[in-house]
Amino acid sequence: MADKISYELQNSTLLIQRIQDLANKSAFYKRLLRRALLLIQGQEFSLQELLDKIPFTLKEDLRRGYPKGFLACPWEEITAYFESSGTSSGSINSSRTMSLKTVDDLIRDHKRRVPNFLGVDRGQVAVINLPYALTSSAHGFHQALQDSGAVIVSVDQGQVLSSYSRTGDLLTSLDARILVTSNPFLLRDVYLYDSGIDLFEAAYLEHILVVGVPISKKTRLEVKERYGKNILPYYGLSEFGAVGVPASVNKMLVHEDFYIEIHNPDRPESLTGEIVIWDLYSRGSPLIRYQTGDVGEVSYQEVDGKIRCYLEVYGRLKEAIPDNEKYLFPVDFQDILVGVPGVSLL
C-alpha cells in the first residue's frame, strides 16, 4: 500500500546512511546529529523516534554556517555559488540563503530538470525566462535543455533588456516549443496587451515549465483543456535545485534525490503542512530536515514497485490567510477565478 508509512520505510535506510554520512563529514551536522547517531548505534528505534532527535535545519543556520559550516566535501570541490533571489522579502538584506555546489551536485540537478516525457528533440527551441543572476534555476535548465539537444534562448529575467515583450517576440518568432518562466500568466497578459498576440495560442509552444510560483492544479488543467498547453510546475529552492519535477500536467513528483516530510504541529499525521526537505546526496550544501517555509500536500503512489511521493505546493507559509481551521493561499483564489470569462490569472 502506498502511504506515508511505506514511503518512510522505503527510505529509512537511505535516511540513516545520510545521517551517518553527514555526522562524519559536515561540521554543522556533526554537532546537530550527535543524539541521532547515538540512537542509530543503539538497539531498535522507529523512524519517528530518530526524527525526534534531529532538530530542523533553518535558513538562519545556513546563513550562520556559510561558507564552510555545512560542507560534506573539501572546499576545493566547490564550483558554484548561488543565492535565493530574496524576492519574497526584497532584494537587499532579505531572507536570502546561499548554497554551494560541487560538479556532481550540478550534474545531478541538471539530470532532474528535463523528465523524459517532455520528449525534447534536437533543434527544438527552448526560451529561458528566468534570472541567471545568482539563482540556480536558469543555469540548471539552460544546461539540462542544452544537453537534451534543445536550442537555448537565454532571455533572462530581471535584466534591464529582458522584457516580457522581448520574451514574447522571441517565443513567437523562433517557434519555441518550450518556455521556462516564473509567471506565464503575467508574461501572457503583458504580451497580449503589447502585441495583441496570445502566447497560449502560439502554435509551436507545447510545454511551459514553471518555477518559483505555485499554480493550482485546476488552473493547469484548465489551460491544458482550453489551449492544449502543458503548464508543468517545478518545485525548487536555490539551496537544492529542482526538488519536485513534473510527472504530468496534474502531478509533480518528488525526485528520488530527496525525501520530503510534512511538518504540521497541530495535526502530525496530516499530509498537508510545511514542506521539510532532506537532500540525500548533495555535498556542497547538504541539508537535511530543512524547513522551507513553503506549504504543500503530499500523496503517495506505487509505481514499478516503488513508492513515489507527489507534491502539490500551495504557497509560502507567511502568505497564508487563516480561515477557520484551514489556511487560504493565493492558489485558492486562482481556483475560484480560473475559467471566469474576462478575468486574468495574474
Binding site: P67, W75, E76, I78, T79, A80, Y81, F82, E83, S85, T87, S91, I92, N93, L100, V103, L106, R122, G123, V125, P131, Y132, A133, L134, T135, A138, H139, H142, Q146, G149, V151, I152, V153, S154, V155, D156, Q157, G158, Q159, V160, L161, S162, L170, L174
Partner: protein, 435 residues
Amino acid sequence: MNGLWVDVLEQRLQRFNHVFQLVANHSPLYKTKYAHLRGHQFDCLESIQAIPLTSRADLLNGNSYLLMGTHPQGYFESSGTSGSVLHAYPDISFEKAQAFGSYLDLWMGLTSAKIESAAVALAYEMTPIGMRFQQALQSCGVMVIPTGLRSTVCSPQRTLEIICRTKPQAIFSRPLELLRYGDVLESEGKIKEIGVQKLFYLGETMSEQKWRRIEQVWGNADLYGHYGLTEVDAGLHTCLLKNYHEPLNPFVHFELLDKNCNEITGNTEAGEIVISTLHEAAAPLLRYQTGDLARRVKCACGSKAPAYQILGRKQDGVQFLGQTIFPYQIENIIFSIPEVGNEYQLVIEGGGDISIRIEKAIDCSISKAQLEEKVMHAIPHFLKQITSVEVYEWGAIAHKLGIAKKKGAQFVDLRGSKAEDRSKELCINVIDFAF
C-alpha cells in the same frame, strides 16, 4: 616571422579552405555570395582577399548564415548598442567552455595564483558570454558567483554586498562596472579586505589611463582584457603591455583593412578589423567586417602573435578638421589627471562641439574651477573642438549603484535632439538605486 606563427598561419589556410567549401555549399548566405568561387582553393592567406567581404547588412538583410541541416546549440543576439540586432549561433558546448577554461587558466594564471572563486558580473541575457565564463571557470576549478550585469535581481548594490561577503579573488565584468564597484568599495575602505587579485574586462574600448585606474582602484590587481563580438564567437586578448593579441590557434583569422579594403601591414595606419571564424560551427562567418577600428602595434611582451591597439567602433569616432576623434583619446587625457573622478560623459552638443562632464575624484582637494582649468589646459590642440568642461562633485553625475544605459567610452550625441530632451539624454543610468 617565427616558426610557431608560420605553423598557425599554415593551419589557418587549411581551415579557411575547408570552411570556405562548407559555407559555399551549405550556408544560404554564402551559397549565393560565393557562387562564382565554389570549388576554389586558396593557396595563401593573402589570396582570400579575392572573396567578397561579409557585412552587417548581409547578416541583417541577406539569407541566413546558419548552415543548412545543422541545429545550433543556442540562439543569441548582439546587444544592438552599435546598430541593429544581429543573430548569433555560437558553439556553447561544454567542450568549448572547457577549452576556453584551459586557455583562461593559462593566460590569466588562475591556478598558479590559487584563484578559488570569481564573481562573473557579465551579461547572460541573449549572449553566450555569461554562461561561457561560468562554465569555463568552473571547469578549471574556480567557484563561480554569477552576479550578472544590468540585473535587477542582483542589483549593483547587492553585487557589492556579495563581493564583500564572499571575497572573490577574481572579478569578470565591464570596465564601467569595474570602476564603479571599485569606487564605491574604495570609498567605504573595503578594497583591501576583499583582496581581489585578478580582474577581467570585455565589451568596452580601453584607454591606457583607464586601465591604470582600474588596477589602481582595485589595489593593483592584474587586469586582463578581451575583444570580441557576439556574432563572431572569437576574439583578441590583451597582454601585460595592454596590447590585444591574436590567439595562437588556427580557429580564427584576422585582417586589418583600409578604407579601400586593402590589407594594412604597417604599424601606424588604422583600419577595420575583419574576422573569419575557422572552427567547426553552426554558422561560420568569413571575412566579416566588424565595424571596429584598430591599428597594428609592435609589442615587446614576447608573444609570437600579432598585436593591435583597439580604437573603437567606426561610428564612435567624430570627424573634426579632417581627423577622427575617438572617445578613448579624450578619456586617456582626462584620466591622466588624478583630481578627475572615474565617472565622466562626453557630449557632442547640438552644434557639433564637444563638452566633457566630469566629477571630482574622491580625494580631490582643488576647486571645481581649478579642475576645469586643469582639464582644459591638458587638452591638446587637435582636440580643440572640446569647448567646455563641466565639473561635478564625486558621485554627482550618476549613482554609482545604478544601472548604466550603455557601456562607457562612448559619445552622447545630442545633434538632432531637442533642447528640452537634454537632461533626459544625459541621464547615464537607466535605473538608479539609492546610494
